[in-house]
């Protein structure tokens, strides 16, 4: 899937927070590519660094506390590591659109929806007020908001959560960006609305030919929408594979835990969903260990003392786990995996 010139290419991105004495590592050498037109899902529990990754790429982390290091952060031909704040600003909104988890609070309450959509185009494309309003109307139509002319003058509090998320999508897509980052776009919405929004994102990706990074903790959403998955745990990417490969051949202990905790996993008699014991560590584990060791059902003695290297399982599937054969073998016959393969 990875083509010669990906939309976004990240190599060894590390982020740490805090004062020099007590720095906390939030991201540890994260690498991934997003190919043109593909949907890459970043999956993991909350606090694993999914959002920090994207915020770091966009230059949205508070400068005074966050230290960012990377071998490469490349958007098309542009090196984002070297971009000035002003250049980053033109990237945001114009070349990278972003939507967030909570549509209820993500729109400024005191401005109309039309104003907030038009504003992006006026800032980046120098459109006149009138032209921007006309485009805003088209965008509302594009994100399938009924009666768009009337909604243009509505305030956010007059719209439902699903509607507001559609408005957020319209804002993100206003300048036809080459990359859309969707950070848990459906978490705060009703189940029926969730499906609609995901469908909308998938359709728009096709219509506009853009790439999408979908940040989520929901493997179900991943299975139906994404092309490829990168599983994150405690600031590291532990496994990366095309969706079908990941479900057919999960190779990291953490991926296995995520899949087992899905409804429909394990046996049908089961009344209680499987869970992964313990909690996500607040920040990355010591550099010489697999961060998941303590919670892992497949842990080997070496896991706590050596960091497993990234290994290529197939051309598009890589994983950092010492015991991936056992993981794959254990998961091969569960009903959920069968259902998806």
């Amino acid at each position: 899937m990875i083509t010669a010139s990906p939309t976004l290419s990240v190599r060894d991105l590390s982020v740490s927070f805090g004062a020099t004495g007590a720095r906390l590592q939030a991201l540890d050498r994260v690498s991934f590519d997003v190919a043109r037109g593909e949907i890459l899902a970043l999956v993991g529990e909350s606090g694993c660094g999914k959002s920090v990754t994207m915020m770091a790429i966009l230059g949205l982390l508070p400068e005074r506390v966050a230290r960012i290091e990377a071998q490469r952060i490349q958007l098309g031909e542009l090196d984002l590591r070297k971009a000035t704040p002003k250049a980053l600003r033109t990237v945001r909104g114009r070349r990278i659109g972003m939507i967030f988890q909570d549509p209820m609070t993500s729109l400024t309450p005191v401005h109309t929806v039309g104003f907030q959509i038009a504003e992006v185009m006026r800032a980046h494309q120098g459109l006149s007020r009138r032209a921007a309003q006309a485009r805003a109307l088209e965008l509302l139509d594009l994100v399938r908001i009924p009666d768009p002319r009337r909604r243009l003058d509505a305030y956010p509090h007059e719209l439902s959560g699903g509607m507001r998320q559609r408005v957020m999508i319209a804002i993100a897509l206003a300048c036809a960006p080459e990359l859309l980052i969707a950070d848990e776009p459906t978490t705060a919405l009703d189940v029926t609305v969730q499906a609609q929004i995901m469908e909308l994102i998938a359709d728009l990706r096709r219509e506009m030919g853009m790439s999408v990074v979908l940040i989520t903790h929901d493997l179900g959403v991943v299975a139906t929408t994404a092309d490829r998955v990168a599983v994150m745990y405690a600031g590291r990417i532990v496994e990366e594979a095309p969706v079908a490969d990941l479900f057919r051949n999960p190779s990291h202990g953490y991926t296995a835990g995520l899949i087992r905790s899905l409804p429909g996993g394990e046996t049908e008699r089961q009344t209680r969903l499987a869970e992964i014991p313990g909690n996500v560590p607040r920040f990355a584990a010591p550099p010489n260990a697999c961060a998941f060791t303590e919670r892992c059902a497949f842990a080997l003695p070496g896991c706590a003392t050596t960091r497993p290297p990234d290994e290529q399982i197939s051309q598009a599937h890589r994983c950092a786990c010492f015991n991936r054969e056992a993981v794959a073998a254990a998961l091969r016959d569960t009903p959920f995996v069968r259902a998806w393969v």
Binding site: F17, G18, L24, A26, G47, S51, V52, M55, L61, P62, V65, R282, F283
Partner: protein, 296 residues
């Protein structure tokens, strides 16, 4: 949003009182807070021992009118030949007395009325109407009018400043109680049969304490200004009570020749109010950690 690299998570929440004391203790370690407390202690010392550190503030000496500073009169003399230093030192008494009394006297009825206004539906609405009307009268005007109408004296000044201060306290307490009443633990207490006084004293009153202490500190600061203002305008203050506002009023006529007559009391007044306000800010930060911590 992004994981803030702030304080570690509260390990199994220690008791609240403990946390409060800790916050206060850490506020105490700040140099600015310490400086303010030291200065306040200085003012208190002067207030108690003014008679020992300075001479007679009331002795008139027509031969020594408007004299520059000397060994006998460190800050010179005023238009009646009175010792400016002695008057300034004795003036501390009235400011501190008024500040402390107003804070205390506005807090007590303020808390009582505020709790009532929040707990009683009908009575509360009525009380708030009256409070709104009281707040529609500019506080300074009300204080000036009250002070002018009563017999001059310290009590009059305190009453005149306390009355316009009460509505503010009532509003604050009511707002706090209304928000406390929304808390699940109060619902739980009511559901388990806690009623009336027990509910108020065990669950409601303790929550009002921190904001009332903070507001009381600010009230003290503004009362000190108000008292100086009343004396400056010449209402409510008896002539034999040396005070900063009165000294400034006396100095007005000689302002162009001798601005220091005005500067001494003005500076003391400003410094006292400033440290009271800063201490109020510190208390507010320490007692309500959600508020942004700020250093000047």
């Amino acid at each position: 949003m992004i994981a803030e690299p702030a304080a570690p998570p509260p390990a199994n929440c220690p008791r609240r009182r403990h946390a409060t004391m800790e916050a206060l203790a850490s506020a105490l370690r700040e140099p600015w807070t310490l400086l303010c407390l030291l200065l306040l202690a200085g003012f208190l010392f002067v207030a108690f021992f003014a008679g020992m550190v300075a001479g007679d503030p009331l002795a008139i000496n027509p031969a020594q009118r408007l004299k520059p500073p000397s060994a006998q009169f460190p800050w010179g003399t005023d238009h009646l030949g009175r010792d400016v230093f002695a008057r300034a030192m004795h003036g501390t008494r009235m400011s501190l007395a008024v500040g402390a009394s107003v804070a205390l006297l506005s807090a007590i009825p303020g808390v009582a009325i505020g709790i009532f206004a929040a707990m009683s539906r009908l009575g509360g609405a009525l009380v708030m109407r009256i409070i709104d009307a009281m707040m529609a009268i500019p506080a300074v005007l009300l204080a000036v009018a009250l002070a002018a109408l009563l017999q001059p004296g310290l009590t009059t000044i305190i009453i005149a400043i306390t009355i316009p201060e009460i509505p503010r306290m009532v509003r604050l307490v009511r707002a706090v109680v209304l928000s406390v009443r929304q808390q699940p633990y109060v619902d739980a207490a009511i559901a388990s049969g806690t009623r009336g006084p027990t509910l108020v004293f065990r669950h409601i009153l303790p929550n009002t304490l921190a904001p009332v202490i903070v507001q009381g500190t600010y009230a003290a600061a503004s009362a000190i200004i108000a008292a100086a203002l009343l004396s400056f305008l010449g209402v409510g203050t008896p002539p034999d009570l040396p005070n900063w506002g009165g000294m400034m009023a006396d100095a007005r006529r000689y302002f162009q020749q001798d601005p220091m007559l005005m500067a001494y009391p003005g500076m003391l007044l400003s410094v006292l109010v400033l440290i009271t306000n800063i201490l109020g800010d510190r208390l507010s930060d320490a007692l309500d950690p959600r508020k942004s911590t700020r250093k000047i």
